[in-house]
Symmetry: C3
Subunit: 131 residues, 3 copies
Amino acid sequence: MRRELSVSTSGTYEVVEITRQVAAVVAESELDEGLCSVYVPHATAAIVINENADPNIGDDLLAALDKTIPEGIWRHDRIDGNGAAHIKAAILGPGEVIPVDHGQLVLGTWQAIMLVDLDGPRRRRIVVTVR
Amino acid sequence: MRRELSVSTSGTYEVVEITRQVAAVVAESELDEGLCSVYVPHATAAIVINENADPNIGDDLLAALDKTIPEGIWRHDRIDGNGAAHIKAAILGPGEVIPVDHGQLVLGTWQAIMLVDLDGPRRRRIVVTVR
Amino acid sequence: MRRELSVSTSGTYEVVEITRQVAAVVAESELDEGLCSVYVPHATAAIVINENADPNIGDDLLAALDKTIPEGIWRHDRIDGNGAAHIKAAILGPGEVIPVDHGQLVLGTWQAIMLVDLDGPRRRRIVVTVR
């Protein structure tokens, strides 16, 4: 089964948890055992799995990426001004695949599924596929 | 269905778009809805999804990786001279999983599938699996 | 089919090869062609695929990550002291998907599947799903 989610971000950089929405697709699919792919069809956003109980972790991730890949020094910046966002998105990757067992996402206690927008604010699509 | 692609690179570092070849495997599979795995069975190459309409982005990615993980300072360099290539490949990862819907890859407007060779020139195999 | 592996690490940072255990799950599944997901349900560990014939590569990866994302300077450190481990795990990612063909993992000659513990020593679970 395939469903599309939509998230509107409000800043240039933003980490938005989407665990609940992905879990709802898994529940709707009624799949007992398999895999759940979470995929963002954008070149300046990414899907990351980590802790969100402390939302500082998302800010720490964005700060680490900004320190390593600073803005404004890339070839693509002459065309579109968002070269750093593309590089960060390429490194983080557009998707993650999570196991499903007994009809539920196999996430650890401290794992949340998060959309990372690196060039917002925008409306971002997220494709969830359960197999 | 599983098919193997082959790409010959010509430089030490090279980003080669393979979207069309992967899409041809999806079309051949006649799968309507599911997942497409693109996987490179090499330890100094990676699969990345990002924009290729401006090929500068591939160069920017390679430059950012080189700045962060410079050559010639790693333990493995005493054995094989390509330590940086291994580290970069481990971080980017050997594969991506892309949703398939209505018989087509669900790629965003600015998303292309790319092989990143970090230790060429070589002939690189790419395994495409559609499920 | 789904199986859970368990690995006990002994240091703060540790790279542990798990190729043989994952291959055993694939053999047990008797799947001829498909995909194998390897997933760690933890927020300070990751799955990486690269060379382990020279174990220096794992040490090089840990050194590169430590240089890029040093310890002790993150917001989350005020809460739990392991901010760097979370950021590194988010960048490496919790899982990899490997093709299966003729009943075997399609790994390159120099590819090994490795658990990367970034905040050990701990007992780490690894979920292997074959589809």
